[in-house]
Amino acid sequence: MATTVRRFPSPFEIQTPPGAEGWESMYPPYILFSEDNREWEEGRFWFLDSLHRPEVEYPFDTIVHEAWNSAASELVTRTLAVPVTNGYVERILNGRLYLTILPVPDQKVVEERVPIYTRRAGHYFENWADLFERWRGKLERVIGELKAIQIPRLPHLEDESVVTEARGYSTGLEMLNAYQRVVDNVFLVYQYHFELLVLGYTAYLNLHQFCKQVFPGIPDQTVANMASGADILMFRPDDEVKKLARKALDLGLQEVIRADRPPAEIIADLRRDPRGHEWVAAFDAVQDPWFHFSSGTGMYHHERAWVDDLTVPWAAMKGYMERLERGESVERPVDQILERRERITAEYRALLTTDEDRAAFDQNIALARLVAPYVEDHNFYIEHRHHTTFWNKMREFGDRLAEHGLLESRDDLFYLNRWEVGQVLYDMVYSWGAPGRPSRERYWKSTVARRKDIVEVLRAWPAEPALGPVPPDLNEPFTIMLWGLTQERVEEWLAGAGDGAARELRGYAGSPGVVEGTARVIFSPEQIPEVEEGEILVCPITAPSWGPVFGRIKATVSDLGGIMCHAAIVCREYGLPAVVGTGRGTKVIRTGDRIRVDGNAGVVTVLS
């Protein structure tokens, strides 16, 4: 019987926006839709990964999701033998990242994988605490190795020791080698990232599905609340800022710190002051790792960490100083949250009617809580600590390229993809070794200049939310958990729910509660100081490092994010309502609008 397959546009129907011609050259060929694979590509359903990649891809920054999608695929298919998934395939179209999820096509393979998966995943769950401890060791090592990679300056003449110690190879080779090591390091860290994450999400999902069966109406965030960890590493940076605020008051430094001058200058002055010196020592002591904390998700090069830009923590610290002076508490209500978690869990358990379900509930809760510290803290290790160093290492390569005239400025490096960075470094090193050899300086510079224009044009492209035919059953648990992709969401897309005039926005219920208040729309962490006490924060994405702002707002609305996104976790911890993943909150809502945030239903209403 013929049925009509509902479909989004084919990737091959999508036009290049005028002015962005040649955008394909920014990315490696294997990540593009191509005539070679047209039949396969047109037969698949692709969705925009706006949750993790909301921006136009800078050519270099694709390294991050190349590393994660290949690592995740290898892990589920080849290591854990997850019965139902053959991995995740990515494509870039007009600068935006699309994904498709490969099912295991053959029921026989599913059955073969079940015992293997049961054994292998079982091993991880049974030894979780130990393996997480080992994981932390591996992460310390991989971050340490990254830090230790020296990006050398190419000397006019090699040091005498190269000869006397018979090193036998040049600093040029060392430069190329350093780049290889940085790339390998990123790929390694994403292998570790998924080593525990896939299983962690599985344990959450197991609890989630069970709860939805026994309590069909239970909100997602309540399930997350029951499983959430008592204390989260993600809050440590904020806690350290609070301590610094207290210390500043104890030492009577409030006037100096409040001065309307750049933080770096103030700190330089404090260093020379005896009282200030004590504060600066405390400040220095927390830089690594606690200020290796991105002001964004950490997954783009332009999101700077606190160590690189003190705007966010400095504003937060001044805010905490004021609140402390007014005698207010700046502590997070950790005990209350924990007590509430226990009460809620016990009450839900008491509603179960059979011994079997009570036993299963206890097991599922225990497993979800076992993995919770990893699920909640892994971002801090990777996207924050690791990537802070990673992006800065890349800037050092950018510096070298600019010094040698191959690029105009350091950040131009990010307009070359990871393979091209290898090429331009080689070009530079070769000309260093053979002075007088002309490099392709003009090619690199004109390529970067052209790409800057292309990226600007692509930013204005209204990305299709999905491409290709809609599969019959989309409600695959992992897809929902990782990408928030549900049948319902796809229906909304198909219905063209992009009505800009709508006064009601739907997203995910990130954190419970309902409040009304005045909106403050901000687009970057630099604007955080604009947020006033009691306002509702509306932003593209609420990165965890925005933590300090949560102490003075009433609720959060974000364009991006799902139920397990960092923002939702932060809001639940602070007891603030949040609606995340609205898609266009920052476009529909204006600063000063009166809005109602319903964190139970995931709805934001613009009242006036």
Binding site: G122, Y348, L352, D355, E356, D357, Q363
Partner: protein
């Protein structure tokens, strides 16, 4: 005093004497403050039996029922029902029951002029058929002892609706097994009224409280003339999970001085929620407490009206155990002796499964929702 009892004395072991509704009210009085339940009394089944004996009605009843053919048509059933109703009404309440009722009514205050609700309170033997047979009678705004006496008899007569007669014949229920108690309770001039189930009627979710509410008295909702607003509340966290506001073009309002019910057009108010969020949570909190105190999911009737301390007071008009889901043997979702790992694999390979007896098994759209409501 043997033909009426105060509501506070209506305990489960007296169910045969006072009927289910009165037992529910008695239970509420044990777990809630006195002022939450409008004062009232019950006219017991002993009163009914004494009355039928004294007025020599049994012989007439038997005769009328005997005269029905083996397979009587609707017209014959209706005629029999009407004859019995006329018979009952002509008989009058009489002493000593009337005197007791008079005293109990006077004790409700208002100088013998207080508006009351007169409602049938079916006994256990009869309760299985009651909701289906539609013999739960309710008379609102009844003023004065004569009117009360008349409506008590009407409630008794509701034992013999065409449906009830037919049901008893088919199931071979003897006539002397049929008896009815009647609750007489002071009226609340409800600003909002509704029902609450401390379980989800659609899927048996025990973590969900469902509240339905309409402006004024609840009768238009019971009669299907109005769709109520619906609120879902999380029983554990007390968060409002969802709100569905219905279009409610009118409300029935009780005038306390005359006992009359007036239908009022609502205009702009028609599309507004009739409860504030805080009220929703307050009602749900009470439901949760009642459920805990009474040991299982409850089906509660309530009303908001002006209270002793001013403001909208929450009155509880009835509570009875929820029966559709609570009495059903629920199969566990988790198969016995499975580990978390087994369930994870099952989740991946099989996808999520609905609870046995859950929505997938419910009969047709809407499932079991709404059954058993009076």
């Amino acid at each position: 005093m043997s033909y009426t009892l105060p509501l506070s004395e209506c305990t489960a072991d007296r169910a045969e004497l006072v009927g289910g509704k009165a037992v529910g009210l008695g239970s509420l009085l044990r777990v809630r403050p006195e002022e939450d339940v409008p004062p009232g009394f019950v006219v017991t089944t002993a009163a009914y039996r004494r009355w039928t004996a004294e007025r020599r009605l049994e012989a007439d009843l038997e005769r009328i029922l005997r005269e029905l053919e083996d397979d009587p048509g609707d017209a014959a059933l209706l005629a029999a029902s009407r004859r019995i109703a006329t018979l009952f009404e002509r008989a009058g309440l009489g002493e000593p029951i009337l005197e007791e009722v008079g005293q109990a009514y006077a004790a409700l205050g208002g100088g013998g002029e207080v508006p009351v609700a007169v409602r049938s309170s079916a006994t256990a033997e009869d309760s299985a058929e009651t909701s289906f047979a539609g013999q739960q009678e309710t008379y609102l705004g009844v003023v004065g002892v004569e009117a009360v006496a008349r409506d008590i008899i009407r409630c008794w007569a509701s034992l013999f609706t065409p449906h009830a007669i037919s049901y008893r014949r088919r199931h071979g229920v003897a006539l002397d097994g049929a008896a009815m108690a009647v609750v007489v309770q002071r009226m609340v001039a409800a600003e909002v009224s509704g029902v609450m189930l401390t379980i989800d009627p659609v899927n048996g979710d025990r973590s969900q409280i469902t509240i339905e509410a309409t402006c004024g008295l609840g009768l238009p909702v019971v009669g299907g003339e109005l769709t109520p607003d619906r609120y879902h509340v999380d029983k554990v966290t007390m968060e409002i999970r969802s709100v569905a506001v219905a279009h409610k073009p009118f409300a029935d309002r009780l005038d306390l001085s005359s006992g009359t019910v007036r239908r009022v057009e609502l205009g702009e108010e028609a599309d507004r929620p009739c409860l504030g969020d805080e009220e929703v949570v307050r009602i749900a909190e009470v439901g949760k407490q009642i459920e805990r105190a009474l040991g299982g999911p409850q089906d509660v009737e309530w009303a908001l009206g002006s209270g002793p301390g001013g403001g909208r007071h929450l009155y509880l008009l009835q509570s009875r155990p929820e029966t559709v889901w609570s009495r059903q043997e629920t199969a566990p979702v988790a198969p016995p002796r499975t580990t978390a790992m087994d369930r994870i694999v099952a989740m991946m390979v099989g996808g999520p499964r609905a609870r046995p007896g859950g929505p997938a098994d419910a009969a047709g759209p809407g499932g079991r929702e709404g059954t058993g409501r009076t």
